[in-house]
């Protein structure tokens, strides 16, 4: 399906990542946002609050992040596309409801404009410290998808993608921005609505009396219905059967949980999104995501000028982690360099997939600003062997 032209601001804009994220959500068809404004994500909801009344959307400034993260799920079961927007401290508060969205298979988007932590940390400065939390922050076993934009243009494009993935896989999608990308202003091209692909929710079309909310018909993802359309539905975070009713048994748990994980795991190749720059034949491969994919470029270019074969693998979808790809590269290249605006998170995934075949060098950073490309360059030189 194509985007609803109502609300799509086709044209060239000079806007920041936060505002671009708002426009991406509108283009994707999001018409419900609940949030508790927090720096550096405030501009997203500020713009939503201004734009939504003009296009029939509903924005609620909630009492806190816990309420925000469950209000959006109510809206989704009412038939809307919905998201909430926050930063580290708020993201922590939302963790329980991320698990709830995963368990109830409620498609929704959580935008986290990352700032340096822990706790309230550096509110106005960037970090990438929530990457593991995005994957594992809620209790129990589940799967999510996480995207990492590196520019305002991508904050627009990938917010649409985040909604499309959420709807396609019925999963909460984490949109992992950071303060630098959120507050950076650049040109953003918004295409005409008829050039924007939007994934529409798969609604159940069979007879009402046969409807079972979690019956997958042999597939991995069940269709949804809208509350109020006359179907009997029951939504619970408890382990539930196909009827959606609590069924606290090992047998039901054994059926449900692997499916929640497999619907992502078995589609990992389709969900994967990354950019390779001279990775083939490279000795050293720099693995980046988000803003770090830009700060690494001067370092990579400098090393190449000096004759080194340096590849750049940039992850756009960080979760599910592209295990197969990293394993393949590990059998060709001689080292990985992983710069992150944290003390080491995604580097552990690279290490896991490299499985001791090649060394993996972390370039850590406490956040507050971005890497000095020189530090990344030094790490590349250290690994040249």
């Amino acid at each position: 399906m194509k985007a609803d032209p109502k609300g799509v601001l086709t044209g060239a804009h000079f806007i920041d990542g936060d505002h671009a994220c708002c426009e991406g959500a509108i283009a994707a068809g999001c018409r419900f946002v609940a949030g508790y404004p927090i720096t550096p994500s405030t501009e997203v909801v500020e713009r939503i609050a201004e734009r939504f009344p003009l296009i029939g959307g509903i924005f609620i400034q909630m009492e806190d992040e816990i309420a925000s993260s469950i209000a959006i799920q109510g809206a989704v079961w009412g038939g809307k596309k919905a998201m909430t927007v926050t930063s580290g401290p708020g993201f922590s508060l939302m963790m329980e409801h991320i698990g709830y969205a995963a368990m109830t298979e409620t498609p929704c988007v959580f935008v986290d404009v990352q700032r340096a932590g822990p706790s309230t940390g550096l509110p106005t400065q960037p970090a990438q410290g929530d990457m593991m939390q995005a994957r594992w922050g809620s209790h129990g076993d589940y799967s999510i998808i996480a995207l990492s934009p590196n520019s305002p243009q991508e904050c627009f494009d990938l917010t649409i993608k985040a909604f499309n993935l959420a709807e396609r896989y019925r999963v909460p999608v984490m949109f992992m921005m950071d303060e630098c990308v959120g507050h950076m202003t650049e040109r953003v091209i918004i295409p005409p609505a008829d050039q924007i692909n939007v994934f529409e929710r798969d609604f159940y079309k069979g007879p009402k009396e046969e409807f079972l909310p979690y019956h997958t018909n042999g597939k991995l993802i069940p269709p949804m219905v809208k509350a109020g359309d006359g179907y009997n539905i029951h939504v619970t975070g408890l382990t539930h059967d196909e009827r959606g009713y609590p069924n606290i048994t090992v047998a039901t748990q054994e059926k449900l949980i692997p499916r929640l994980i497999n619907k992502i795991k078995m589609n990992a190749d389709t969900i994967a999104d990354y950019r390779e720059d001279q990775v083939e034949g490279a000795d050293i491969v720099v693995v980046t995501y988000g803003i770090t994919s830009r700060t690494a470029i001067p370092a990579i270019e400098q090393a190449r000028k000096e004759g080194l074969k340096v590849g750049h693998l940039r992850l756009i979808v960080v979760w599910p982690f592209p295990e197969k790809l990293i394993r393949e590269i590990a059998s060709e290249a001689s080292a990985f360099v992983v710069p992150e605006l944290n003390q080491g998170q995604i580097v552990y995934e690279v290490e896991r997939c490299a499985a001791g075949k090649v060394p993996v060098e972390l370039v850590p950073h406490v956040g507050g600003t971005v890497h000095n490309p020189k530090d990344i360059y030094n790490a590349i030189m250290k690994m040249k062997g």
Binding site: E186, R187, R294
Partner: protein, 191 residues
């Protein structure tokens, strides 16, 4: 070639809007790339504010400025704080009556304009940043004057277009005359 620009002043002077105008002119109307990063203190008004803009014919990877070639300064605090960062051989642009250029670096080109006075003559002190933008366009040729005019119009509130266009033109003409040697840059040095 990537050009780094830093604009400094106090909150409320339109420092961020100025960065916005340059970035918009370059990236939307001049077909270049531009990245703007803003930094502001916790106070909404009166604090040291700066905006950093990079303009380049190529895509910009590293988004922060490291050694600005152009610096536009509209307050004394910004002058003291920021001018040491200006690249050697760079261009310093100051508001003539707000900034005393004591210890002016010898290795930079300096241009100044009484932008506040010009803005007051136009009836609104607020447009001093637009006067500065016109002046900057003339003395740096960073982006085309057409692109800047369009960016000013696209960035200012409706109903203020004429005032802002006049402000831009006054600053631009002052810059052109200064380059022709018809006006001298005054160094305001505190006794």
């Amino acid at each position: 070639m990537r050009t780094e620009i830093k604009i400094g002043g106090f909150g409320g002077q339109g420092v961020i809007l100025s960065g916005y105008i340059i970035g918009r002119a370059a990236s939307i109307y001049d077909n270049k790339f531009a990245t703007m990063i803003q930094a502001f203190g916790p106070e909404a008004r009166g604090s040291a504010t700066s905006s950093q803009i990079i303009v380049s014919p190529e895509a910009i990877a590293y988004p922060y400025i490291t050694s600005p070639e152009i610096m536009i300064v509209m307050s004394q605090e910004a002058y003291t704080k920021f001018t040491p960062e200006l690249a050697s051989g760079g261009t310093l642009i100051t508001e003539e009556e707000l900034v005393s250029t004591h210890n002016l670096r010898k290795d930079v080109k300096h241009y100044s304009i009484p932008a506040t006075r010009i803005a007051e003559e136009l009836g609104k002190r607020m447009v001093l940043n637009i006067v500065m933008m016109g002046f900057t366009t003339a003395v740096t040729k960073l982006v085309s004057v057409d692109a800047m005019r369009k960016a000013v119009l696209a960035s200012v509130p409706k109903g203020t277009e004429e005032l802002n266009t006049n402000a831009f033109n006054r600053g631009y003409e002052y810059g052109v005359k200064l380059l022709e040697g018809k006006i001298e840059t005054k160094e305001l040095v505190e006794a």
